[in-house]
């Protein structure tokens, strides 16, 4: 579902200037870098970190939406939501696989998620409180994710770009699914409309925070842009998202929870009110309302499943032995 602007990667690297220059030339020529190619350590580290964070976000992202699979209000919605949450799992899987080409295992990454060492998108540390939250997540969170992910399809690292192409293709139904839910609620009973507005009020600010800090405060952006891991700045993407989303809210008669939101004729885009960066950093650093619960749930699934994975491996070993004995 989503990649947050990269938080806290160390892009520093110790190779010779000649090596770095040759590498940069390949990047500038829009050549894709493949897993076995020589690459600066900083490039590898940045990618492992970013793809890992992205994968973790998909996996943790299954939880807030999964919270409503059992309570979806119609069978049609239930099927669509289940298929969507399943897709998020698939996206996590593709992304882990892309990171694995860089020499880190899924187990190692999982371990980092469970220990709290690895970050994931802050948006998933908010709770889903009503059915309308499922609409808001699809519409806003997946909408923001698409803004972020489409440029990632052209990322310089081949496996990441390929995974993102698959993700973007699959995700095209997610945002529409969410908007359709919101549209139905906004045009429904007064209680349903209120539910939709309440969800928009709670998810709007976290959604625009998903693009990460303002460009001026984004430490790692320059190197990532130079390496073409990233193609647009945080603020550029955020602006695109806001400009696309405001008319969609108007169309279904919902109000954006930002009194300062105004159309700026000169720049041809909306100006928005101040973002609460204290809240952003608090949530990113693991103090969001659902942070502990999310990790607890992921850890529980992993630990409860240990005996299943062990059994599968033990059986595979026995099968091999039997096959050899039979030959």
């Amino acid at each position: 579902m989503y990649s947050q602007g990269l938080i806290g990667a160390d892009g520093s690297t110790g190779e010779t200037p000649e090596f770095l220059e040759a590498f940069q030339k390949r990047i500038d020529a829009e050549e894709k870098i493949e897993p076995n190619d020589a690459m600066p350590e900083g490039y590898r580290r940045t990618l492992i970190r970013q793809i890992g964070q992205h994968a973790h976000s998909e996996i943790v992202g299954m939880l807030p939406e999964g919270n409503w699979i059992t309570r979806a209000p119609s069978l049609r919605r239930k099927a669509a939501l289940l298929a969507k949450v399943q897709d998020e799992g698939g996206h996590g899987l593709y992304l882990y696989a892309a990171a694995e080409t860089l020499g880190v295992s899924r187990e190692e990454m999982t371990e980092e998620l469970h220990s709290g060492k690895a970050k994931y998108s802050s948006i998933f540390n908010y709770p889903t409180l009503t059915w309308a939250d499922i609409g808001a997540i699809g519409w806003l969170v997946d909408g923001a994710a698409i803004m972020n992910q489409i440029p990632l399809c052209r990322c310089s690292f081949g496996p990441y770009a390929r995974a993102m192409i698959r993700v973007c293709k699959e995700e095209s139904f997610h945002q529409r699914q969410g908007y359709e839910i919101m549209m139905e609620l906004a045009g429904g009973t007064p209680e349903q409309k209120e539910m939709a507005q309440d969800a928009l009020n709670r998810w709007w600010w976290p959604s625009i925070m998903m693009f990460g800090p303002h460009d001026a405060d984004s430490q790692h952006s320059d190197q990532s842009m130079a390496w073409k891991i990233k193609r647009f700045s945080n603020d550029e993407l955020r602006q695109k998202f806001i400009d696309a989303t405001v008319p969609q809210a108007e169309f279904i008669g919902l109000k954006m929870p930002d009194p300062d939101l105004t159309w700026n004729e000169e720049k041809g885009g909306y100006d928005h009110g101040p973002i609460d960066w204290d809240e952003f950093w608090r949530v990113v650093k693991g103090h969001g309302p659902m942070a502990r619960d999310r990790i607890r749930d992921r850890r529980k699934a992993w630990e409860d499943g240990a005996w299943v994975r062990e059994a599968a491996l033990a059986h595979a070993e026995k099968r091999r032995a039997r096959k050899i004995a039979a030959e």
């Binding site: 996996i59 299954m62 939880l63 999964g66 699979i69 059992t70 309570r71 979806a72 209000p73 119609s74 069978l75 049609r76 919605r77 239930k78 099927a79 289940l82 298929a83 949450v85 399943q86 799992g89 698939g90 996590g92 899987l93 882990y96 899924r106 059915w131 839910i181 139905e184 429904g188 009973t189 209680e191 349903q192 749930d297 529980k300 699934a301 409860d304 499943g305 240990a306 005996w307 299943v308 994975r309 062990e310 059994a311 599968a312 491996l313 033990a314 059986h315 026995k318």
Partner: protein
């Protein structure tokens, strides 16, 4: 209206099991299984939707799939007891899936010759889905039965917990006088053959159950179903008449 009642029994089986399997989404033992289980749940829910729609048509009172799924209480639900059993651990979930699919696969095979066009249509699609569920759940039952000491113990426990609910699959229920649906009792040899084959590889034995539990077809369920339906129906029932 025996056809209506029989369709509800079938649809309830599918929606309840689909719901149960969907409870796993995001909590599976490994990521690959987080994708496999929703596939199974979606198959079941899809079949339930078609069956409810058809049941509503047969009844002729204007009830649609959601009226039937969301606005009937546990005494009105007609699913068999097997499908409503709690997920338990992964062994129990996979065994429940195997038991059900091993019954439904020959059921839909037989239904492919039904004189009823809608039922033939459902059967054509569902028979392939059930064949896959047998394979997927069956391979897991084999691995868990044969894998480690702990997995073998859990698998044996799952058999102990669930086998007594399997007899009900073969009860005619409301379909006794419905000639467009297969004779359930006649499917027992096929079901037993599938189970015996998989149990053979899993190192499990099919127990003899002196006192099988039944009652679901009369709306006499275990205590878990009411809780499941309370969760499932809560949003829908909180907003009477709303559309979603």
């Amino acid at each position: 209206m025996p056809l209506f009642e029989a369709l509800l029994e079938l649809a309830d089986d599918h929606v309840v099991l689909g719901h149960r399997v969907s409870e796993w989404c995001g909590h599976a033992p490994m990521l690959e299984e987080d994708l496999a289980m929703p596939n199974m749940a979606l198959d079941l829910i899809g079949t339930a939707r078609t069956l409810y729609e058809y049941a509503g048509k047969v009844e002729g009172q204007g009830r649609g799939e959601d009226d039937l799924a969301y606005l009937r209480g546990e005494r009105e639900y007609r699913n068999c007891l097997l499908v409503e059993r709690r997920n338990g651990d992964f062994a129990q979930t996979m065994l429940r899936q195997l038991y059900f699919a091993a019954f439904m696969e020959p059921y839909w095979t037989a239904a492919a010759d039904s004189a009823d066009e809608t039922i033939r249509g459902v059967a054509g699609k569902a028979v392939k889905e059930m064949a896959y569920h047998i394979r997927h759940a069956g391979e897991w039952v084999i691995r868990l039965g044969d894998g480690t000491g702990e997995s073998a113990r859990r698998m044996a426990e799952a058999v102990e917990n669930l086998h007594l609910y399997t007899d009900e699959l073969f009860e005619a229920g409301s379909a006794a006088d419905v000639d467009v649906l297969p004779d359930r009792a006649a499917l027992r040899p096929a079901w037993e053959a599938t189970i015996d084959h998989i149990f053979g590889e899993a190192g499990l034995s099919r127990p003899v159950i002196p006192h099988p539990q039944t009652g679901g077809r009369n709306g006499v369920h275990g205590e878990d179903l009411g809780h499941m339906l309370a969760v499932m129906q809560s949003t829908h029932r909180a907003h009477p008449g709303a559309t979603w």
